[in-house]
């Protein structure tokens, strides 16, 4: 980078800082990216890096959209197959194994997270499912159900009068049968608010999962619904909150969720360009609007805890991107990175792992890539 462009970049940062009424320091960092970072077997390739996460041993899990998702012809249902795979690597990037080969629910990867017990949870936007694998890679828990007949393309998000996108309700044919399911979107059963979803498990394009210390499960749901759904550790439904809109406690694409050690729930409300926080019962606490359009969120286990939020300001990941570091009270302590395809640039960050406060893993959609970022410690 030339001195001039560096100065221009600094000026841009300053302009942004004026808008948010506080100067945001740049955090220096280094990056190592795939293919150097993760060593795939011959003839195994990653696609879009929807999810990346580590377990307590430092093993790396990658949930990636890879070829080829397919639909079947000559059948009574539009049955869908394949499309996403879950890989495990050790801390040095050596390939360990694939998990969930040929699994029913792995169609369009959306996220992977590892819980305190090193269980590996994947969230699949297309199958609408959350799948819990134990540390041995065996299925332990399933939330929601893959539609028997897949609706392709998915119903579009179109604006309400408020400008908030909503999934248009499809005409209901006389089709029926187990799992024919309600069409995505407008309110689930019983005339609930748009995006509030059905009480239970019928997710609509879910995006993320998190847990509190008691092991209760919180699902970000998602694109088609606009809610957080909460389950006990055995998967029994407790409650859900949220509907589609821009008021406090409403969402416009719930794209990520994370929970701090006190049990406060942080929700990346992408379309409303904010992070909202809630207590464990879903009562709104506060919101942060200083981190752009949040597409991924992670809270460190460090003491004190910090929040990392990926900002994605354009649909191609070529114009406007950064990762912000915040305190739990929303104070931005720094930011780093920019949009683009080079190392240290970000193309649609969809996932952040921050088990180590200064050594992040980020998964990118448009760059088919995972980067390991080593941050210069600010303290």
């Amino acid at each position: 980078m030339t001195r001039t462009s560096g100065l221009l970049g600094a000026a841009t940062v300053l302009a942004a800082a004026v808008l948010s009424a506080q100067a945001v320091p740049e955090i220096a960092f280094q990056s190592v990216a795939t293919p150097d970072l993760l060593k795939f077997p011959d003839n195994v390739h990653m696609g879009e890096a929807a999810g990346v996460a580590t377990n307590s041993k430092g093993d790396i899990f990658l949930y990636t959209r890879t070829g080829n998702p397919s639909m079947t012809l000559g059948t009574s249902r539009a049955v869908s197959h394949g499309g996403s795979r879950l890989f495990q690597f050790d801390r040095n990037g050596k390939f360990v194994r694939e998990i969930g080969q040929g699994s029913y629910g792995m169609l369009q990867a959306q996220q992977v997270r590892v819980d305190a017990g090193d269980n590996v949870w994947v969230v699949d936007q297309m199958s609408t499912q959350v799948i819990k694998f134990d540390p041995n890679g065996r299925v332990q828990l399933i939330l929601s159900r893959k539609p028997e007949a897949m609706r392709v393309p998915a119903l579009p998000l179109t604006p309400l009068a408020t400008g908030v996108p909503v999934v248009q309700k499809a005409a209901e044919g006389p089709a029926a049968g187990p799992g024919a399911g309600a069409p995505p979107g407008a309110g689930g059963r019983g005339g609930a608010l748009p995006g509030a979803g059905a009480e239970g498990e019928s997710f609509q394009r879910p995006t993320d999962v998190a847990w509190d210390k008691a092991g209760n499960i919180y699902v970000a749901d998602g694109y088609g619904n606009a809610r957080i759904a909460k389950y006990d550790p055995n998967g029994k439904y407790i409650k859900s909150w949220g509907s589609r809109g821009s008021a406090q406690g409403q969402f416009n694409i719930v794209h990520g969720i994370a929970i701090d050690a006190q049990g406060t729930v942080y929700v990346a409300d992408e379309g409303n360009k904010r992070i909202q926080t809630f207590d464990a019962d879903g009562t709104f606490k506060t919101q942060f609007t200083s981190v752009g359009t949040p597409t991924a969120i992670c809270i460190t286990p460090s003491q004190p805890q910090f929040i990392y939020v990926a900002h994605t300001g354009d649909p191609d990941g070529m114009e406007d991107a950064a990762i912000y570091k915040m305190a739990l009270d929303g104070k931005v302590v720094g930011k780093f990175g920019s949009a683009g395809k080079e190392i240290k640039q970000f193309g649609l960050v969809n996932s952040i792992d921050c088990r180590n406060e200064n050594e992040l893993l980020v998964g990118e959609l448009s760059n088919w890539r995972v980067q390991k970022l080593t941050l210069k410690a600010a303290r």
Partner: protein, 349 residues
């Protein structure tokens, strides 16, 4: 007018399977204690169950699981749960599992609602007969919502299950699109069919499961109407048991003392309110008298997540396969005592 009325009826009926949750009318039913065997099925590392759609045993105790994983697959395990083999890899008609049954000669029959096929494998795992015909691929994914009128003899509309009598006649429950039971002789030739969509005596609303007793009576899980319809061997209606909820799965154990098991499964869409009123399995005498019930909705071992098929070759050691939990369980029933609550063993996920 008639057309309009029919359309209305269809629309109304169409809602019901989505809400296939019915609190059983039977009350004060004794609880049958049972345990679920932990980790019975030993899957190879790279093999996963998907939705547990079908399960059946043969005379040697081998267990066949017909599962919707990434592809629909038919897997065989021995009596100890060790993996034996996969059957029918890439077979033309395996696409969207619905049931597997084993006949008295240990032939393995699968019912596939994706391809509208019933496929008979011999004990060696080779295809020896097929019923129905898969739509040609040029048709694409087709609109399966309208039943053919009248239903065709040899074409199914998302069939659900198959059973056999002592003479080898074949009875197919058909299904989601059609609403009938079809009888074929042992050579696969059409004999008779009964039923159209509705709630009347000879009507059915999603006949979802079918089984038979040693006298050749046919028991149909008429799920959408929340009743078990009992037909004689010529498909004349004999009885109706409407007190055990929505029968997702029915199974009759072998003679001499035959029992009927019926699962009032919690729906696969898992609406929260359904867990309190569904999920249990009933044990009945063939005349409809309820002996007891066991199980409840839930995701832990020993709980049920939408039981889709029951194997009751041994009435005290059942196998159940479940949709929502992507699993199958082996259940040991305690036949000596009828205690107030089921005991659970095994790990809690």
């Amino acid at each position: 007018m008639a057309r309009g009325l029919r359309f209305c009826v269809l629309l109304i009926l169409s809602v019901q399977p989505l809400l296939a949750q019915t609190k059983a009318k039977a009350e004060n039913v004794p609880e049958i204690a049972f345990t679920s065997v932990p980790n019975f099925f030993k899957l190879p590392a790279d093999l996963y169950f998907g939705e547990g759609i079908g399960i059946a045993t043969n005379s040697k105790g081998h267990v066949f699981v017909y599962t919707r994983s990434g592809d629909t697959r038919l897997l065989e395990f021995d009596q100890n749960g060790s993996y034996v083999r996969e059957i029918g890899q890439g077979v033309y008609g395996l696409e969207f599992a619905h049931a597997v049954r084993v006949d008295r000669q240990d032939n393995i029959w699968v019912v596939d609602e994706g391809t509208n096929m019933v496929i008979k494998f011999n004990p060696e795992g080779r295809v020896v007969m097929v019923l129905g015909r898969r739509p040609e691929p040029v048709a694409g994914p087709f609109d399966s919502t309208q039943p053919a009128a009248p239903p065709e003899k040899y074409r199914f509309g998302r069939p659900t299950d198959v059973t056999f009598d002592q003479q080898g006649n074949i009875f197919v429950s058909d299904g989601y699109v059609n609403s009938r039971v079809v009888k074929f002789d042992r050579s696969g030739r059409f004999v008779k069919a009964v039923g159209d969509r509705g709630a009347g005596p000879n009507q059915l609303n999603t006949p979802h499961s079918i089984t038979s007793d040693a006298q050749g009576n046919i028991y149909v899980g008429d799920r959408g109407n929340a009743r078990v319809q009992v037909f004689d061997n010529d498909l004349n209606l004999k009885a109706s048991y409407d007190n055990v909820g929505s029968p997702w799965a029915v199974c009759v154990s072998p003679p001499p003392n035959q029992f009927l098991f019926v699962s009032n499964s919690n729906p696969d869409s898992n609406p929260a309110a359904s867990w309190a009123i569904t999920g249990e399995i009933y044990k009945m005498e063939l005349n409809g008298r309820i002996i007891g019930k066991f199980g409840k909705a839930g995701k832990r071992l020993g709980e049920f997540s939408t039981v889709h098929e029951i194997d009751c070759r041994n009435p005290n050691e059942l196998f159940v396969s479940e949709i929502s939990a992507w699993r199958a369980q082996k259940l040991i029933l305690n036949t000596k005592s009828s205690t107030s609550s089921a005991s659970l063993t095994g790990r809690v996920p």
